[in-house]
Symmetry: C2
Subunit: 417 residues, 2 copies
């Protein structure tokens, strides 16, 4: 039984949210952006755009050109312009995260970028022996830190944050105070991947700086979803993903940010030829490129980075303020429906209720969340399950409608009733 059938069967019980959703969709200034994406199954309720964003139509066309005309036609001559792509697409991402030109570059995966920046930060604070992060941080960040800590003989001071609200300034301050003068690096994810809690970037960064630590933020669930101002917050370094809200494609290359004033100090541990000052001279002796260029490593993935560019262009065209406004509206609507339709059926909201503290997804907690997620997927509603008990509704402002939210909640209501 798919969602449409269920909604008809549920009748008036679900009609009010659907009618309200239709009104909200009609008033949505970003509604037309959905037509800029490939929507292969119009009835599918896709609530996982924060795990893999949809395919922009422009990307499909661009990739056909990049593959056929550039690789197939230009062959090696394509490098005359491909060589600029990592910096050029980085500069397109920069205004979305409050960075300046020459502070962002697209390269490698989030994991590899996180490793490069964390390792560089630890090298820049040699003698300090503690890394501060939180146990609810995204797994790849934690795993990379564990490897660096073991390799360098350091300790990780783990914050155990509230599962809904995420790490607070007080959590961070306490962790810093417990290791006076010894914290080399503080690193957190800006928007928690499970609860969507937004960490207080400015206050936490300031606290870490007061303690002499460098600060690395993971923007995977922030970039293209909420407004970020790295410069205003004084952030040192950051990484982020392009395959979620930036719609860059499965496993698309990631970005990294290094504050301009730190670019001469920090050093990429992976000294690759694309980070060399004069790449094609193939000279003796590594001589890092000035600025953000030294953070490149190996040969740029040309096809993949072209897809990132198209996704970022769509985001820039819509405007991050409008995207964020719709993200708030979508999540507010979802929470209202969870409270109104699902709370009596054993669900609770696992995301902050204050919109300013919440990213663009909503966690719906239920003891049977894993099985329910599987049942939703069978019925054409695609959220994500996150341990231990969250059904995660990812609400991508450029592609998710209010009707998607209402239908997703109605399907869950039907399963629980």
């Amino acid at each position: 039984m798919d969602v449409s059938t269920e909604l008809s069967a549920a009748g008036s019980a679900t009609s009010e949210p659907l009618a309200r959703a239709a009104d909200l969709d009609a008033a949505d200034p970003l509604a037309s952006f959905r037509d800029r994406f490939v929507v292969a199954e119009p009835d599918l309720v896709y609530l996982d755009g924060n795990s893999l964003g949809r395919l922009p139509r422009a990307t499909a066309e661009r990739l056909t050109r990049v593959v056929g005309e550039e690789w197939g036609g230009e062959l090696i001559r394509g490098w005359e312009h491909w060589i600029d792509e990592p910096r050029r697409v980085g500069d397109l991402i920069a205004p979305l995260i409050g960075a300046g030109p020459g502070e962002v570059v697209v390269s490698d995966s989030t994991t590899v970028n996180f490793y490069k920046l964390a390792a560089a930060a630890l090298d820049a604070r040699q003698g300090r022996r503690t890394i501060v992060t939180d146990r609810d941080n995204f797994p790849t960040d934690r795993y990379v830190l564990e490897g660096l800590a073991r390799r360098n003989g350091l300790e990780i001071a783990w914050i155990d944050p509230d599962p809904v609200d995420g790490p607070t300034v007080d959590d961070v301050t306490a962790a810093l105070a417990a290791h006076p003068g010894d914290v080399a690096l503080l690193t957190l994810t800006h928007v928690n991947y499970r609860s969507a809690a937004i960490a207080d970037m400015a206050a936490i960064t300031a606290a870490a700086h007061d303690a002499g630590a460098l600060v690395l933020w993971d923007l995977c669930h922030s970039a293209g979803a909420i407004e970020v101002d790295l410069e205003a917050a004084g952030v040192d370094v950051a990484v982020g993903c392009t395959y979620k809200y930036l719609n860059g494609g499965p496993g698309a290359p990631a970005f990294l940010y290094v504050r301009r004033s730190l670019q001469a100090e920090l050093r990429n541990p992976i000294q690759g030829w694309f980070g060399q000052r004069d790449l094609f001279a193939m000279a003796q002796g590594y001589d890092p490129a000035p600025g953000i260029g030294q953070w490149l490593t190996g040969t740029t993935g040309v096809v993949a980075i072209a897809a990132v560019e198209e996704g970022v262009r769509l985001t820039a065209e819509a405007g991050i303020a409008a995207i964020r406004a719709k993200g708030v509206a979508l999540t507010e609507f979802a929470i209202e429906l969870v409270d109104g339709r699902l709370a009596a059926l054993g669900c609770s909201v696992g995301s902050p209720r204050d919109a300013d503290r919440r990213g663009d997804h909503v966690a719906i907690r239920h003891p049977d969340a894993k099985r329910l997620t599987g049942a939703l997927i069978e019925r054409g509603v695609l959220p994500d399950f996150r341990e231990p008990d969250s059904i995660r509704f990812g609400l991508s402002p450029l592609t998710t409608s209010f009707t998607d939210v209402a239908r997703g909640v109605a399907a869950l209501e039907s399963l629980l009733a």
Copy 2:
């Protein structure tokens, strides 16, 4: 003036090589493979397939499906099969390099893979303080080693090899003997990127093992071009590129090899979530996947790896023995023409004359090589210039014809005459 016009102008002076090339092409058992690739400019003489291989027609079609149907249609559900791609494509590459199933994986760039394996090897030989490599090694390998040496307080013992013949067993033995019991890692490129010299993998690996060192081979100019037998040579770890002879596309993800018996001992320094035993459990504590899986780092680039698969499939279909046989014939023909037509005009062969010691490209040395390369490109012949004095003719057996070789040499002859 393009090549065709020049050939007409040159008249009978070039007709003999062209006639011989036509005969060789007619007898070439791999000639039909050229039609499996996009050839946008039939008159272009492309001699840079060892820098960027041509676009297979199957790849263009496959990428349209991967982007439109898989990303666009399957959305997040695509991960049910995408997750297997790095190992699956690795297993397709394995027989081309003498590796077994579960010993090769596709991930990251050559540079990042080289870093992971070199760092792991150094960790496995702690207490030893020397890395042996050669000054003619490919730049990214040298740069990565310099970074690791600095970070770990190690020394690099540089071999200065003959510029044509590359590092020999004697060179390696001397370097090992100069640092008795202290060499942690010996690493060389199997086929030199400039001269095409093939290093004696088995003898050099054995010598390094006798000295207690681990051995890392760079197969960038070997994979898909010449026969490689990592297992017979007892190689520990290796990396290689897929965008040259394997035709995987500009900046395509690279592969890495870890000998099965070393897989439990060596540890990836970049502990990412794709190397975790149970990726989606998102559990506390990094627990490396068994076998080759731990060498993955971040999220797999799905579009890019699909292109690699198609390129590798074409290579496997042609068969590496047939590819190598044609590679020898192409380079023999090129050398014969350089000797016969260009030697009197100031050129010399900068590649080994023994076919068993030469990969699938030929270096043509001339004091004015840089300017000549530019002039050739203007005339529709695309070789590569390599410092200090080499015009490099890359001869890709699946796509380069003997006529391409004759036309390339004729164009250079015309420029020099």
